[in-house]
Symmetry: C2
Subunit: 237 residues, 2 copies
């Protein structure tokens, strides 16, 4: 595939299986969920947010050049903060606070759905074990995230009286951070996937990443929407 | 905890969260599923079966004594066979054959639910990364399996005209293998969990294992029972 055909194939995966297509996403953004269901979403997604800098750190440890490490260090700073500005993890906890969840309960992970844990851990393991190229390709779901973030923030502010611009403060910086991340990662992947085999590995990595985002909404849907099968020990709104 | 109290605590975890309690299990055994739904179960569970000897081999590689390695080598033989007798993986494929699934499709994993993959991979990673004691403790769900196997075989033979004793041949040897496995593993865990902290680690390992069996039925339930949300790319009966 030419670089442009390859990019089109990557974007095609998003059109087919990005979690913006999941019914839970539509319920969330269209005001169809109760506060308890939104709490369940925020509680579970905390585990994903908290593991993003961990997966980035395991990639950072394997990057071969100063320029690459500097780029990936910036990502970790986006999520962990710099000691003066809160990072993404801290801003996510402002969301769970704003939804009335106890912060110690959230960070203890006691109420987490096992399906969330297994999907997120699969991501961390993937980045640790696969090639640098595949690890970077798996970050490319951010190509599709600007749209979902805009839908989410607008829809949630319009539809839920229990969220505010302050509680949704996680998302605003992502609207500028994510495109910056994508510019770098997409250019890297297009340059380094210089055989058909490597291109296929990148496509598979992006499919894998879409699957694990989708699986997180699957677990939420089963437990909290329909048929409301909450696994033993998990959060009950 | 005394060894007897510790064993009671281990058994209590099974009473609370073993997947015999999952609604999908009841539907399966009581004849409430269509052939397509039973196919989905067998197809997904193949991935679990196929990874059991892989997780056992990664534990084998870390065992310190001849006696322990001999015991664990026997388990791998149970699953991989000895070249004359088929092992558990081969017997599972007799089940998927008997249900009319194409063997190449099953082993390609193309139709696998992502939730199955993440749960099974979590088990393999757990056994690879945790202590030998925790890895052995995580195998103790077999304490609870005799009962579920008997229910499953009797219920499926009675309720489905598309299964036979031949297609369910996987399960019979497990009725003698599993108690043998448990005798060894339970004695090992009771002897080596000689502090409260180690006992708690073993209890957490068994809870983790129950959670990943449960999560596999969750994924099947969501996709194939209710609300029938089949993830992109997964098997469609």
């Amino acid at each position: 595939m030419s670089p442009d055909e390859f990019e089109a194939a990557l974007r095609g995966i998003g059109a087919e299986r990005y979690h913006i297509l999941h019914p839970f996403h539509h319920l969330l953004h269209n005001g169809k969920l109760s506060k308890g269901q939104v709490q369940a979403w925020a509680l579970n997604r905390y585990y994903y947010q908290a593991n993003i800098p961990a997966k980035d750190a395991s990639l950072l440890a394997r990057l071969p050049t100063t320029a690459l490490r500097r780029e990936w260090r910036r990502r970790i700073e986006d999520h962990d903060g710099d000691g003066t500005q809160p990072g993404g993890v801290e801003r996510w906890l402002a969301l769970t606070d704003g939804l009335g969840l106890d912060r110690d309960y959230v960070t203890s992970l006691r109420g987490l759905l096992p399906g969330t844990r297994f999907a997120v851990d699969a991501y961390v393991h993937f980045v640790r074990e696969r090639s640098v190229l595949e690890a970077i390709a798996s970050s490319l779901t951010e190509m599709f995230s600007t749209n979902i973030i805009q839908q989410r923030v607008a829809g949630m502010l319009r539809n839920y009286d229990f969220v505010s611009e302050a509680t949704l403060a996680y998302f605003n910086p992502r609207l500028t951070q994510a495109p910056q991340d994508v510019d770098f990662a997409l250019a890297y992947v297009k340059q380094h996937a210089d055989t058909r085999e490597k291109q296929e590995q990148c496509l598979a990595a992006l499919r894998f990443k879409c699957d694990l985002l989708w699986a997180q909404l699957d677990a939420l849907h089963l437990a909290y929407v329909e048929p409301r099968l909450v696994p033993p020990g998990a959060f009950r709104p």
